[in-house]
Symmetry: C2
Subunit: 345 residues, 2 copies
């Protein structure tokens, strides 16, 4: 049993405490300054405003001003900020936490470096401070709604210390929440970040099918063709990032679940129907999308590597097309032929 | 342009000639003795009885007695038999064809050998005859309906001779049918056969979700967990078969499309709802399923390798559970915890 404090009461930061609360841990949820309404609502009703689920009993809720109180005696800090909150986490939270408090972050994403590399958020956190804080992270296919609904989920906790990862697992593991552990932080985070970009790619085929059929009718051959190409390109990107190839299974499972979920699917369908990106963003009310951020950053890194002769454009036709759509004002024109391979033993 | 004769007028044998006919090749379709009604119907109406699509113009249809006429001057024989017709193909067709006539087979599957190995149908064909016939095969995610409907599809032609594969590609390649080529016959065929077993595995999670919800409601975290585990086990099986790891992308794309299709999904859902296999077969009117054959054969090979100490049971928990359901009279009980991994750099 442990005291677990969560900073950032968004959907995933809140959903991940379901198994931890079921296991009898003490849970404290702290909202960011953007989460005020979520905290007020949870205090008043016991429900989560955006997750739209009854929260487990016995949780204590805190507004951001009370963060330091919520840290008192905590054994683990869960970071529930989205990738758009990473800078805030670095400037506001890391300075406030003691070295002895390990962090488990649910934030998915990668950052491209100056020389065309890609690194994970735990690495960004480590580089941001002189403190020797242990930054762990959660990867793998797990949507917040379904976790809250106890659908059996498999995730991976990654970090530097395998014994600490196993301890963290012991707090969260439940019959509906299964946890692998890995010290390959870059590999895990790369695999699960990439899937956001490629889920948009698969959704293009759904939009193209709608457009061709003149109705919301899905074909799967074309989705499968893009899914397979995503598998090829993710394998290469894992290698470029220096991640172990076994992490591909994490990214593939996560790609599968992301094709069915939310806004990435929606914008992919609109682009697949031939809409321009700016127009599609308007239709979706200008929501900010992690899939857009990750595909942009990854494409930027790969384009730089191509320029330097370290990577080949023909190895990433899908990623580069997604980038053209998102950042180049182009309309959908999937390079099917570029997905063909010739393999001689 | 070439003369292409098809033996076996089932759905895939017939669908694959759509791009070949569009390219101006001469197409002759010959029914097996089981296909009599399909040939009669096509002759009378120009439509395919089970594919339920208008066939391309200009095809000549033959009953099985006319097979030798249909072979006259043919440049390529397409084998459209299902895996249940493989023995018939070996005993009836191979003796009738000249060595100079290359074969392109759409049949997917693997055969387990006495010593716990798994080999592909092209290898089985090669071993069945002294003739030096070139047996090529088609792998990759492609359902017959969607190919007939011109949904963009990506497949792989595999065989021993890369130049002949490129020639075959030139007959079929179209803007909705893209063809990779590979001389890794075992690798391609293994990857695309396995997906039948694992698609049944993913569908278990759909049935479990229906059962838990008391209605036809899908959760995706649990499907993704099984999809990811399928990716791990397929990677290992590819290695066991001696296939190149790059073929995984083919199997993964094919797994994606198979989860959405037909009878494998249906029986997986029934098993996932807690039904016993015999009962589920009754519900599905005792249809014979390629997914059952391939999971049984693969499990048999792997169990033999485990006995001999050449493989580890903990590397195939999903396959072995599917085998228990199909051949062991067990009820669904997905070994989620066995999917967990511990990875230390």
């Amino acid at each position: 049993m442990a005291v677990i404090t969560v900073i950032g009461s968004g959907m995933m930061g809140s959903a991940i405490i379901f198994p931890a609360a079921d296991n009898g841990n003490t849970i404290r949820i702290v909202g960011t300054p953007l989460d005020r309404a979520i905290i007020d609502h949870a205090r008043a009703t016991g429900e989560h405003l955006t997750l739209k689920r009854k929260m487990p009993e016995g949780i204590t809720y805190y507004q951001y001003e009370e963060f330091e109180t919520a840290l008192d005696g905590a054994d683990l800090l869960v970071s529930g900020v989205s990738s758009f909150g990473v800078d805030w986490f670095i400037s506001e939270i890391i300075p406030k936490i003691p070295e002895s408090l390990p962090v488990l972050s649910v934030t998915k994403g990668m950052v491209n470096t100056e020389n065309g590399g890609l690194i994970s958020y735990p690495e960004v956190y480590e580089a941001s401070t002189d403190k020797k804080i242990s930054f762990m992270a959660v990867g793998g296919p797990c949507t917040s709604y379904e976790l809250a609904d106890h659908d059996p989920s498999e995730v991976t906790f990654c970090g530097r210390n395998i014994e600490q990862l196993k301890w963290a697992r012991s707090l969260f593991e439940a019959d509906y929440y299964h946890v692998s552990v890995s010290t390959d932080v870059r590999g895990v985070e790369c695999a699960v970040a990439m899937k956001n970009a490629y889920a948009l790619g698969v959704a293009l085929a759904i939009g193209m099918s709608y457009e061709r059929e003149g109705r919301e009718f899905e074909h799967y051959n074309s989705q499968a063709a893009i899914f397979g190409q995503a598998c090829r390109e993710m394998t290469r990107l894992l290698d470029v990032c220096g991640g172990h190839p076994s992490n591909l299974a994490l990214g593939i499972g996560d790609l599968y679940v992301t094709v069915y979920g939310g806004r990435t699917r929606k914008i992919g369908i609109l682009l697949g129907q031939g809409m321009e990106f700016d127009k599609a963003l308007e239709v979706l009310n200008g929501v900010t999308l992690e899939s857009i951020v990750i595909s942009t950053r990854t494409a930027k890194a790969i384009r730089q590597q191509i320029e330097d002769g370290r990577a080949k454009a023909e190895h990433y036709p899908l990623l580069l097309h997604i980038d053209e759509l998102v950042n180049g004002g182009k309309k959908v024109n999937v390079p099917w032929k570029a997905f063909e391979t010739e393999f001689e033993l």
